[in-house]
Symmetry: C2
Subunit: 282 residues, 2 copies
């Protein structure tokens, strides 16, 4: 299966999430069957990131969005485990601070755009400003409506100006799966401190969130910054899909390790001199 083709939202397409099965898991029956493939992907990412970092011509932005419980944290940890931490930065976007609220919605996001050679991961992102803001009417309709274009233009800026490849994952789980995950939190004492009643009041707005996601997915999937809808009821399949798409995307960049800037044979001479000097000193 070509994961990129299968899960990419075609630019201009109108997304209807009803037609997508969040429980989909492809040809693999379970996590045990998928394990080798997953390990291969992580090894590919490790190797590719090493070259990506050396190459220094590209940057990569990975955006993670999904309803509460969809697995943004888990996905983040999973894909990042394959990456040299020197070259990656994760930014979580929470409720804006008072200072952030006194700026345009892209102001707090822009400083975290990746520099060349680096990978940025956004756990939540500027899309919150057309999701929670829309659902909770935190801004007038004409304000959030104007934001889709601003987002597209800003993402294009990164792509054009800084050679940024952008991968946006919408982690799609069913309403039943979300409840199941809430149950697991309830039963795990180490997780109970995180629970709030708003988990359930937010859940009452499920349909509004789905509508807001559909709009964002439809209006902001572009050639230079496509959305991918990952069926995420099965965590292992979500990880498999995310890691495949990242590895395939990096592969598509035709990365190259730069040639040494020095004459390696000259350096080899320096090495031998140092070696001899060390032996004499002993």
């Amino acid at each position: 299966m070509n994961f990129i083709k299968r899960f990419r939202v075609e630019p201009g397409a109108s997304v209807d999430l009803e037609k997508i099965d969040p429980g989909f898991h492809g040809d693999f029956a379970n996590d045990v069957e998928a394990k080798d493939e997953l390990q291969r992907n992580l090894a590919r990412i490790t190797e590719l990131q090493r070259t990506f970092y050396a190459d220094r011509r590209h940057s990569l932005l990975i955006v993670l969005q999904g309803i509460d419980g969809a697995g943004k944290d888990g996905t983040c940890w999973h894909v990042i485990s394959a990456m040299d931490p020197q070259g990656v930065q994760v930014t979580g976007f929470k409720q804006p601070t008072p200072e952030e609220q006194e700026h345009d919605f892209l102001w707090r996001v822009h400083p975290h755009a990746p520099q060349r050679g680096f990978i940025s991961i956004f756990n939540r992102s500027h899309y919150e400003d057309v999701l929670v803001v829309r659902v909770h009417k935190l801004a007038p309709k004409d304000v959030w409506k104007a934001r889709y274009d601003f987002i597209n233009e800003w993402e294009r800026l990164l792509a054009v100006e800084n050679n940024t490849t952008i991968i946006k994952f919408f982690l799609y789980i069913s309403k039943e799966e979300q409840l199941q995950r809430f149950k697991e939190r309830l039963d795990d004492p180490a997780h109970q401190w995180k629970i709030s009643a708003s988990d359930y009041t937010e859940r009452d707005k499920w349909d509004d969130y789905i509508k807001a996601f559909e709009a964002a997915l439809s209006r902001c999937s572009t050639e230079y910054a496509p959305w991918y809808i990952l069926p995420s009821n099965h965590k292992w399949f979500r990880n498999l899909a995310a890691s495949t798409i990242i590895a395939d995307t990096l592969e598509g960049l035709k990365l190259e390790t730069p040639k040494p800037t020095v004459d390696i044979e000259e350096i080899r001479k320096l090495y031998h001199q140092a070696k001899e000097a060390g032996e004499k000193a002993r």
Copy 2:
């Protein structure tokens, strides 16, 4: 072996690196023997960090220093692999930018101090300003000499004001081991782009660097921000020592998962209501 006691520079002690064996590897003969212990440490770190993040009363700063080739990147990757990336930030400090140079030497470092609940890892740090700066005479002697006190006071600020636990690792390798690692870079085409002739000219200043490290280790190991000298000729032993010290230090904090802020039984009712509503809808 109590790693903390064994490798900690006692506050006020005068460090003589000649007396320390960078090839030391404790009771373990090799990496295979140490493997289980290492895995246990990583599992402990994962568990402890989870509580650390939830607890939100402490912050942790890990500083990595060492001569070129000592394994700062490798150590970083190794210990971080056990941590949820949400709660960790790695900052690499390279040569200061022109803007940074027009400020005091702590100006560029301070913004990266960890917030409560979080772990910051410094790959190189403010100590460069008493190391490379001293060796290369990039500042007059009275300027870098004054910095030891500034460093101690700044680290005390973090400890007192923000409950920051500070762990500083000096990764100690021998001059022969460094040369061996340079050789590996020479022989690995994927690494050749990183090589420069300055690796060898810096090596000529080995003794000056050792002296500068000894001064920093002697003058800046405090109760609230101790230095640890990790024998690092064996990468596996360095990883074992670093992970043990981090895990033991976190354990010493007596971390606690906060009590839920809500009545869990009330939330359980919400869960059952949602469950029933879901079943009716089907």
